[in-house]
């Protein structure tokens, strides 16, 4: 496992108390905590490097631009691509998916075409397609999910074969079940169909080695704040030949080649997709977060979470009356566990955990379709990261015991 003692010492917030207890932060799928290096990089940027990018001819602006571009270089290497011009910075994964839905919709889709998602998507990979479909006339179809939260591969293949699918947009890893989906299985079907593949990497890029070259996707989207970076920065990676064909998503400064009063022509990529002043300090800080993760190694990050998850699954299953949603085993899954206690609402579980300083999530996790598969309104969810320890799991287990006592759940 990782040297969590050392890692923890890099995260100021983990030294704070919550309701009188040492904070046990187990809501990393929502957002992660930030190491000192990331926090300080933001203030350092404003102290030493701040100017707008791509605009000024003066040195300070060139310096800020260089830092911004350097962040793209770091990010592109981190996801196994080469050309930093294929990196678009957005506000978050949600904005990235909106960008793709509207730009791809306008450029490539017409009435009758199908965009295929899965029945387990985060709302941010569903609602943008619904909105864009109302404008561009395409249809959104969803692949069936198994009770474990895995793709029904038979249904997946069948839908790609029989429907006029132009785009497949799916999560690489699920934020509700923790499943890591078998992208390699669907890529050949998508290629044969000459469709495009978008991966929502919001829950994979922060937690495991991800290489777009190896995955064979056309686009990858993720959020900086879920991988030690600040809020306000997200990433879209796309193949350059596709980006070059695509219409812009938002208009404004920085994304144009020539502007006339009634029409304009578009800048090259990625500038075409970065209208207005981008989140510069946030981009720089994301670069620092990438450095931090790279120094640990994403293989080691994945292994650490895997061991914790295996331990937690074992401990949780020892408690009677607790049910786990999603896989019970370690096959193709990451560090997320959704669970419930029979007779107790997940919000009450989370509230009682909170009184012991344990932060867990309760709700539908922005995936009501997955809740539908599980026939529940909500689950409690724990999600691990590099600073979590077996002791954190032990605290959680104790709190679950307390929940059962408060609610007088006998067994």
């Amino acid at each position: 496992m990782l040297d969590t003692k050392h890692i923890k010492s890099n995260f100021p917030i983990l030294k704070t108390k919550s309701n009188g207890y040492s904070l046990v932060y187990l809501d990393n799928a929502s957002t992660t905590q930030k190491p000192k290096a990331v926090i300080e990089s933001i203030s350092n940027f404003y102290r030493k490097d701040n100017a707008n990018v791509h605009r000024g001819v003066y040195s300070l602006s060139e310096q800020a631009t260089a830092k911004y571009e350097e962040a793209k270089e770091k990010v592109v290497r981190f996801i196994g691509a080469k050309d930093a011009k294929e990196i678009i910075f957005t506000k978050n994964a949600t904005e990235g998916l909106n960008l793709l839905a509207f730009s791809l919709g306008k450029t490539f889709l017409k009435k009758g075409d199908v965009v295929l998602v899965s029945g387990g998507e985060h709302h941010s990979n569903l609602v943008p397609w619904q909105l864009a479909s109302q404008i561009f006339g395409f249809t959104v179809e969803a692949v069936k999910m198994t009770v474990e939260g895995r793709w029904d591969l038979g249904d997946f293949q069948n839908k790609i074969k029989t429907l006029p699918v132009k785009i497949v947009s799916v999560a690489h890893a699920s934020n509700s079940s923790g499943v890591i989906h078998p992208v390699e299985k669907i890529v050949p079907w998508i290629r044969e169909k000459k469709a495009l593949l978008i991966l929502d990497g919001a829950q994979s890029v922060p937690h495991m080695p991800v290489s777009v070259a190896r995955l064979g996707c056309d686009f990858l989207v993720f959020s900086g704040h879920k991988m030690l970076g600040p809020t306000g920065i997200g990433v879209v990676w796309g193949k350059k030949d596709l980006l070059l064909q695509m219409e812009p998503y938002q208009g404004g400064g920085g994304m144009i080649r020539e502007v006339h009063l009634t029409e304009s022509t578009w800048a090259d990529v990625p500038e075409r997709f970065e209208a207005g002043t981008p989140p510069i300090a946030e981009a720089v800080a994301l670069g620092v977060a990438v450095d931090y993760l790279s120094a640990i190694g994403m293989g080691a990050v994945f292994e650490h979470e895997k061991q914790l998850t295996e331990y937690a699954l074992g401990e949780i299953q020892k408690i009677s009356g607790v049910e786990i949603y999603g896989p019970m085993d370690m096959i193709s899954r990451g560090g997320i566990i959704s669970f419930g206690i029979r007779g107790v609402h997940p919000h009450d579980i989370a509230t009682i955990c909170d009184t012991f300083g344990i932060a867990i999530r309760a709700g539908h996790h922005c995936s009501q379709s997955m809740m539908g598969v599980w026939k529940t309104e909500a689950t409690a969810r724990v999600s691990f990261y590099i600073y979590n320890t077996e002791k954190d799991v032990d605290e959680l287990i104790k709190a679950i015991g307390k929940v059962k006592r408060v609610f007088q759940i006998k067994n």
């Binding site: 609402h345 919000h347 509230t351 009682i352 309760a362 809740m371 309104e377």
Partner: protein, 119 residues
């Protein structure tokens, strides 16, 4: 454990006035999207008096206990008396400290009842 004292757990486990009502005068569904709490409230009125009230639904202990207690409180009261019950009154009734994140749960039934009886 302040929030989940015995009275709340009791109301949650064996709620009063739980069940559908036949021949109701008013019915209303309430939904709390953050928790997924769902309530259906039924009321029978005689002139301006709530002669019977019941609810069905599912949700967290706070929302269910609040619905159970509130139905006990308002049964037999006039519309004006029911509308006089304030937010603070609900918190007093629950006899517990509720953080901002859970306030919606505590007030779900109260919100529904007010919507039903508002002039």
């Amino acid at each position: 454990m302040d929030l989940y004292h015995q009275n709340i757990i009791d109301h949650y486990k064996t709620p009063s006035n739980y069940g559908e009502m036949k021949g109701y005068s008013l019915v209303r569904a309430e939904y709390n999207p953050t928790c997924g709490d769902r309530l259906v409230l039924y009321m029978k009125l005689d002139e301006n008096r709530v002669v019977d009230v019941s609810f069905t639904g599912s949700g967290c202990a706070i929302s269910m206990a609040a619905a159970s207690m509130l139905t006990e409180v308002i049964k037999g009261k006039t519309i004006e008396e029911v509308l006089d019950i304030s937010k603070e009154g609900i918190l007093e009734m629950l006899c517990t400290s509720i953080n901002a994140g859970r306030l919606k749960c505590a007030l779900l039934a109260w919100t529904g009842v007010r919507e039903m009886l508002k002039p």
